[in-house]
């Protein structure tokens, strides 16, 4: 007995708590949403544990469980069309992104194209936008009263150049705002694909284009396919763009799921849509890992080789022009939102009628609460994920805990809307009635962004050798003291880098905020979203500018931190 108590020391207890956290807020919600897809009505798993009545009711529900939902998906056209449309959209977007990124990635990795540095820098701009802001900026640009439409009509065009409220509109927004997710991995793939092989090819008499198509491209191909899958997953689970732009006759599975839960409280349908979303995302994730199996680009990048950069003007100038065309669109979007935020009125004209700071004044007088909420919620999620991620990385690296490793990858797969629905369903009633509290919102944010944090802290943890910790213990320190005085300070850079990322993504977060935030805890993203829905574009624009500015400042801070660590 004493031996047993000795074994459950402080650290063991922490491990137990962390498992409990994941099981309570991740595994059980996903499990119960899966069960609801059969029972067709909400079930209360926690209630069944504490109350006999509830337990019997739950048993009764299971007795009535059917496969009706699954049948109806494939017979009843509505949801099936939604799934089909979503898959089609994601497919188109990933193909387009791949085609768009290939020349730019090649240009950045392998050539001396003009303005390379500027283009690289501008390529990060799309990442600072929450997608629903870019979606609504597209309305300001391409909509009936947009300035692009105005120019198009002046040039003799009829109607609109592109209708933003359409599949095309959604696809374009996603393409221009998701392409950086694919660009950087592709640049890396081009950089590491073995240059000596290309040299061998050239040495055997092959030239330029032939080498590219027979050696460089095939070598980079697996990397490209896997990045295409990343885009597929991001596009498939994106909520911000379709909720703003999808016309009422265009079904998309994310929007359907949101409407079922937020509009009709139709648990059965929401659950089945959630299960399907997770299944698709899970499959894509599996496929991606399958493709990358056995290919480790990291080991190659260990010894950087000098690559001779292509200087041929006939190639680099068109590449540069093409890249400018791609990066200019997010830039114009940013400018449009900014102009809108200081415009008196703007419509049917290329430029606003006058300029004012009134919208900002309104924000600072009436919507300061939203900014405060965003900061508090992101701060809470940050603290929670720092604590959880630090311990998780300790257990994953030192105790080789595969269980925790797995749990922290699950949130990568589950789309935000799906996770939100699962949480709402599970914590909707007593004994754990948490839906509508800031607490569950913070938990949701931090679990969703935990993978970023864990990746960062596991990396630093791996770099800390075991014997450094042993040395501290040998000198008399307890495990806890060693953790505080040695491991903690050494992990700080990893924690800092992960923290900024978590903070930024939580501020940008749309799906969870829209689905779960109670009115008195509405963060900025929700406020902007509601303003857009109410067509209060000016204050939405002003708030968006503030949000983007906050993200920019934080990102600057992050790069400052990482630069200081390098020296």
């Amino acid at each position: 007995m004493r031996g047993l108590i000795n074994k459950i020391n402080g650290l063991g207890f922490v491990k137990f708590l962390i498992y409990g956290f994941f099981i309570l807020f991740l595994i059980i919600p996903l499990l119960s949403v899966f069960l609801v897809s059969f029972t067709n009505e909400p079930i209360n798993l926690f209630g069944s544990l504490v109350s006999v009545d509830q337990f019997q009711r739950t048993v009764e529900q299971f007795k009535n469980a059917t496969l009706e939902n699954y049948k109806s998906i494939f017979s009843y056209g509505h949801y099936f069309t939604g799934l089909k449309n979503s898959l089609y959209l994601s497919f188109i977007v990933s193909i387009l992104v791949l085609l768009l990124c290939m020349p730019i990635a090649y240009g950045i990795a392998r050539t001396k194209m003009p303005f390379k540095k500027t283009i690289s820098a501008l390529c990060t701009i799309p990442l600072i936008f929450p997608t629903f802001i870019s979606a609504y900026a597209f309305i300001i640009m391409f909509g009936r009263a947009g300035w692009v439409t105005y120019i198009y009509q002046q040039l003799g065009g009829e109607g609109m150049l592109i209708d933003p409220y359409s599949m095309t509109g959604i696809a374009l927004v996603q393409v221009f705002f998701f392409f950086p997710y694919a660009l950087w991995p592709m640049v890396a793939a081009f950089k590491v694909s073995d240059v000596s092989l290309e040299e061998a090819s050239r040495n055997m008499g092959s030239k330029g284009w032939l080498t590219f198509s027979t050696v460089t491209f095939p070598l980079a191909l697996p990397g490209m396919l896997s990045t295409a899958l990343v885009i597929f997953a991001v596009s498939f689970s994106d909520f911000g763009t379709p909720i703003i732009l999808a016309p009422s006759d265009l079904n998309l599975i994310v929007v359907d799921a949101y409407r079922e839960i937020a509009g009709f409280f139709n648990w059965g349908s929401a659950a089945i849509l959630t299960v399907i979303m997770i299944a698709v995302a899970g499959f894509v994730y599996w496929l991606q890992n399958f493709l990358l199996k056995g290919r480790n680009y990291d080991t190659l990048s260990g010894k950087p080789k000098q690559v001779k950069l292509n200087e041929n003007k006939a190639l680099t100038v068109p590449l540069s022009i093409f890249s400018w065309f791609v990066v200019i669109i997010p830039l114009l979007t940013l400018a449009t939102v900014f102009v809108q935020s200081i415009a008196k009125t703007w419509g049917l004209e290329p430029l606003p009628t006058g300029y004012t700071l009134d919208h900002y004044r309104t924000i600072f007088s009436s919507s300061l609460g939203n900014i405060q909420n965003s900061l508090l919620l992101a701060g809470g999620a940050l603290v929670l994920s720092v604590v959880v991620a630090s311990f998780v990385s300790y257990f994953v690296v030192r105790h080789r805990s595969t269980g925790l490793d797995f749990m922290t990858t699950v949130p990568l797969i589950v789309p935000g809307i799906a996770f939100g629905i699962a949480l709402i369903q599970t914590f909707n009633t007593a004994p754990l009635h948490l839906t509508g509290t800031a607490f569950i919102l913070i938990v949701a944010y931090s679990i969703r962004r935990l993978p970023y944090m864990v990746r960062s802290t596991v990396g630093t943890m791996r770099a800390i050798k075991q014997d450094i910790e042993e040395a501290a213990i040998n000198l008399g320190a307890s495990t806890l003291t060693a953790a505080i005085t040695i491991i903690g300070p050494l992990m700080l850079p990893g924690i800092a880098a992960g923290s900024v990322l978590v903070f930024i993504t939580v501020i940008k977060e749309t799906s969870i905020s829209v689905l779960m935030a109670p009115p008195d805890w509405a963060p900025m993203s929700l406020a902007i979203f509601q303003n857009v829905l109410r067509a209060e574009y000016y204050s939405a624009a002003a708030m968006s500018v503030i949000l983007v500015a906050m993200v920019l400042v934080l990102q600057g801070l992050a790069s400052l931190l990482s630069n200081r660590n390098k020296t």
């Binding site: 050798k465 450094i468 042993e470 040998n474 000198l475 050494l490």
Partner: protein, 374 residues
């Protein structure tokens, strides 16, 4: 300072036995080396003493006290790690002061504890008390690092880092000092200097020291006594000269120095000499008494003498052919084939001498007292 006693120590790693029947009695103030090839269990033995591994069975006593139940942070064994394991975010002074901070932490109230914690995280915020400062400065002066006290450990050379690790272990005044391959990360010249430094410090402080190494030369030149280990067992314990002149097994004979090991059968025992047949005609006489019939004759390379024109009389003579001659500066080593056995002979080289041709014939002699039978 204390003695270290291991009794019937056994260690399994998930069913695989890595240590068995380890019995050691290390005296107070002794410099003791654990010597063996990699994977022989020497580091595991040391980690059991430090408490990083829990022995499957057996007892460990330090200074007469059973420490099996003590956690590693309560054993007071200073350890110098192979990689030094210096704290990279602290300067030399803070590294050395770490154990003193921990002691401070243990005996103070909550408020002072907070101060010590703060100092361990950033020594600029809370000052060290005078005693700690004095102690650290003394030990730094002792290992000749006073000028580098406020440098980061990454700014130091390998030898200096090694001395920081040593100072950090010594400052806690441990009962035993444990060193895990402490010289393996240094270049050859520095290794020789550090050997002397470590030996000098050990002698002056009279601290019980256990030293793990795979390098027999290192063990021989530094230790008072050596335990030779192989496959998780101790083969022999003895002083360096003892091990060299009376190895108990052919493995030790070969691992501690170089040996010619020649298998043969005993054919006669007379006049205190044992005659062994090692080839069709070739016999060898040894002063060793043995009851075995199948034996191995061990001859050190330097005990074989090249017999020239002058008539030296040996009980044992061999004729063979030189396969290789290796010039090593003060000595010349010949690889010689004698009736299917390959022998190594070391001869002193005096300037002006000719090195014998490869392929030429050579005659060797050895005294029976220099032939060991195992």
């Amino acid at each position: 300072m204390g003695s270290v006693e291991l009794k019937q120590l056994k260690k399994d790693f998930s069913g695989v036995t890595v240590l068995q029947n380890i019995d050691l009695d290390i005296k107070e103030g002794e410099f003791f080396a654990l010597l063996g090839p990699s994977g022989c269990g020497k580091t595991t033995t040391m980690r059991c003493i430090a408490g990083f591994e829990t022995a499957t069975s057996g007892t460990i006593e330090i200074g007469g006290k059973d420490v099996a139940k003590l956690s590693p942070n309560a054993r007071n064994c200073g350890m110098v790690f192979q990689s030094y394991a210096l704290f990279p975010h602290m300067n030399v002074f803070d590294n050395v002061a770490y154990s003193l901070n921990i002691k401070e932490l243990k005996k103070n109230n909550l408020f002072k504890k907070f101060g010590v914690y703060t100092r361990m995280l950033n020594s600029k915020l809370v000052k060290y008390p005078k005693e700690i400062k004095e102690k650290v400065n003394n030990i730094l002066e002792y290992v000749e690092l006073s000028d580098h006290a406020y440098k980061l450990t990454s700014e130091l050379s390998g030898g200096q880092q090694q001395r920081v690790a040593l100072a950090r272990a010594l400052v806690m005044e441990p009962e035993v000092l444990l060193m895990d391959e402490p010289l393996s990360n240094l270049d050859l010249k520095l290794r020789h200097t550090m050997r002397n430094t470590i030996r000098r410090i050990q002698q002056e402080l009279k601290i019980t020291t256990i030293f793990v190494t795979h390098d027999q030369e290192e063990a021989m030149s530094m230790a008072d006594r050596i335990a030779v280990m192989k496959d998780g067992e101790i083969l022999q314990v003895g002083t360096p000269t003892d091990l060299y002149s009376n190895p108990k097994t052919p493995f030790i004979a070969d691992f501690v120095g170089t040996s010619n090991i020649i298998p043969g059968t005993v054919v006669a025992r007379e006049n205190g000499l044992t005659t062994v047949r090692i080839g069709e005609q070739q016999m060898i006489k040894s002063a060793t008494q043995t009851e075995q019939d199948d034996v191995k004759a061990i001859i050190r390379p330097e005990n074989l003498t090249v017999i020239g024109e002058e008539n030296e009389s040996f009980d044992n003579t061999f004729e063979g052919e030189i396969l290789f001659a290796t010039y090593l500066g003060s000595t010349v080593r010949y690889d010689i084939e004698v009736e299917g056995h390959k022998l190594v002979v070391d001869t002193t080289y005096e300037s002006g001498n000719q090195i014998r041709q490869e392929g030429s014939k050579i005659k060797l002699g050895v005294l029976p007292e220099r032939v060991l039978l195992i």
